[in-house]
């Protein structure tokens, strides 16, 4: 068995120290070691986007990142966006626009949209569709997801 490596990752503001195998994926570290099961694992090869989290502010596929690569980094997961009693603004927009059915893709959609809203003007709905094109929803719910991100972008821009 490969020797374990000591890492410290700040997850949603809390420093988490652990000894992990170098092959452990960040997605499995979050779900199995930290019990943060909001991050979903779908395809495990970077296509579906369900496992998207923020690392040092940038959206990344946690299934394509090793936990040891997050050593010293700040990781934000869907759990950081709000709680059941107090939804964050983007979660609120998803609720208002009915932007989810089964909810499996939703954590990845929310974290991708969080990064998009920080980085891009998102002037048109096509820009939003482009940005979300790396996240797959199998309930055919894209229309309402685009509407939710549009609503969040408009709020961001004070419209």
């Amino acid at each position: 068995m490969t020797a374990k490596i000591s890492i410290t990752v700040t997850v949603n503001g809390t420093a988490q120290a652990a000894d992990v195998e170098p092959r452990l994926l960040l997605a499995d570290f979050l779900r199995e070691n930290l019990d943060l099961t909001g991050t979903h694992v779908g395809c495990e090869h970077g296509i579906c986007g369900a496992c998207t989290v923020l690392m040092n502010g940038d959206s990344v596929r946690s299934c394509l990142t090793f936990a040891v690569q997050a050593d010293g980094a700040e990781v934000e997961t869907v759990e950081s966006l709000g709680s059941i009693d107090e939804l964050g603004p983007l979660q609120q927009a998803f609720r208002e626009k009915h932007a989810l059915q089964c909810g499996f893709c939703t954590p990845g959609m929310l974290m991708t949209a969080t990064d998009m809203l920080r980085k891009y003007p998102l002037e048109t709905d096509d820009d939003i569709r482009d940005g979300l094109s790396g996240n797959i929803c199998r309930c055919t719910g894209y229309q309402n997801i685009v509407a939710a991100v549009r609503s969040a972008a408009d709020k961001r821009d004070g419209k």
Binding site: P22, L25, E44, H45, G46, G49, T52, D58, S59, V60, R61, C63, L64, T65, F66, V68, Q69, T112, D115, M116, K119, R129, D130, G131, S133, G134, N135
Partner: protein, 267 residues
């Protein structure tokens, strides 16, 4: 570097991990050792050169290239191509050195390196060497890099002032792997075309210059070049498109990129 040399060629270099880790997850790649180069200082940079060119460090992320003002101003064709590279979460991690080393024949950056006559700077135990992009790619997912060498930088020589560009890619959805793509640069001085470069992606087992299309364009113009591009292509059949369809794309996209490049060169 010592870790790579000590592994007798068995180690794999891990940069952004956006191609390597999926292959690991699928168990199509395995190695006893992975050398993570993300911690190496000084490889994440975009530096303007006096000849109008750029030096791009190997660990420069796709998102940095996409949003770089230097890239947009000096190589608008590369700026355009970056918009087609995968999705934001992939662009946040993927690197130019990794994309070139992975050498996917349908990827944008290897094709841009060939189009822009890039010099790829590789470092190994014996120091650095410069490899012209045209000699770098030898087969799908295969380059001339030795197992103990890594790409450290990419030098893009400056373009003449009156150079127009065109870039067209066909993919099933934005950010998906391209079925095929074509890019062109046309330099026009005093109303005469003095230089034409056309490069193809997804149309050969490596990214290639479309030499017969380039020659046909100089002699007979856009239509002749578009038809000639079919001969430059030697595409594969796969589930994304037949070889015939890809040859059709080679012609159609060459027509579009030359038209755009010629217009932009005239401005």
């Amino acid at each position: 570097m010592a870790a790579l040399a000590a592994s007798n060629g068995d180690a794999k270099v891990l940069a952004g991990g956006q191609s390597l880790v999926p292959m690991l997850n699928f168990r199509v790649v395995d190695a006893p050792l992975f050398v993570d180069i993300n911690g190496i200082e000084g490889l994440d940079l975009i530096e303007e050169k006096e000849d109008g060119g750029l030096r791009i460090g190997a660990l420069t992320r796709h998102f940095a290239l996409e949003t770089s003002v230097s890239v947009r101003d000096r190589f608008p064709v590369l700026h355009e191509a970056m918009k087609h590279v995968a999705h934001l979460a992939i662009r946040n991690r993927g690197t130019i050195g990794g994309s070139l080393s992975h050498a996917d024949p349908a990827a944008e950056l290897p094709m841009m390196a060939v189009l822009l006559d890039a010099k790829i700077v590789a470092a190994g135990p014996d120091g650095e060497r410069e490899i012209p992009a045209g000699d770098f790619f030898t087969a799908p997912l295969t380059t001339v890099l030795a197992p103990d060498e890594i790409v450290v930088a990419v030098d893009l020589p400056g373009l003449p002032a009156a150079t127009g560009w065109g870039f067209e890619e066909f993919a099933q959805r934005r950010g998906d792997f391209a079925v095929a793509g074509v890019a062109a640069l046309v330099t026009r001085e005093g109303g005469t075309v003095t230089n034409t470069r056309i490069a193809l992606m997804g149309l050969h087992d490596t990214p290639v210059r479309a030499r017969s299309a380039e020659a046909a364009f100089g002699e007979s113009g856009i239509e002749a070049a578009a038809v000639a591009a079919r001969q430059d292509a030697d595409p594969m059949n796969d589930l994304h498109g037949s070889a015939d369809y890809r040859r059709h794309l080679a012609e159609a996209l060459t027509r579009r990129v030359l038209t755009a490049a010629l217009e932009r060169a005239a401005q």
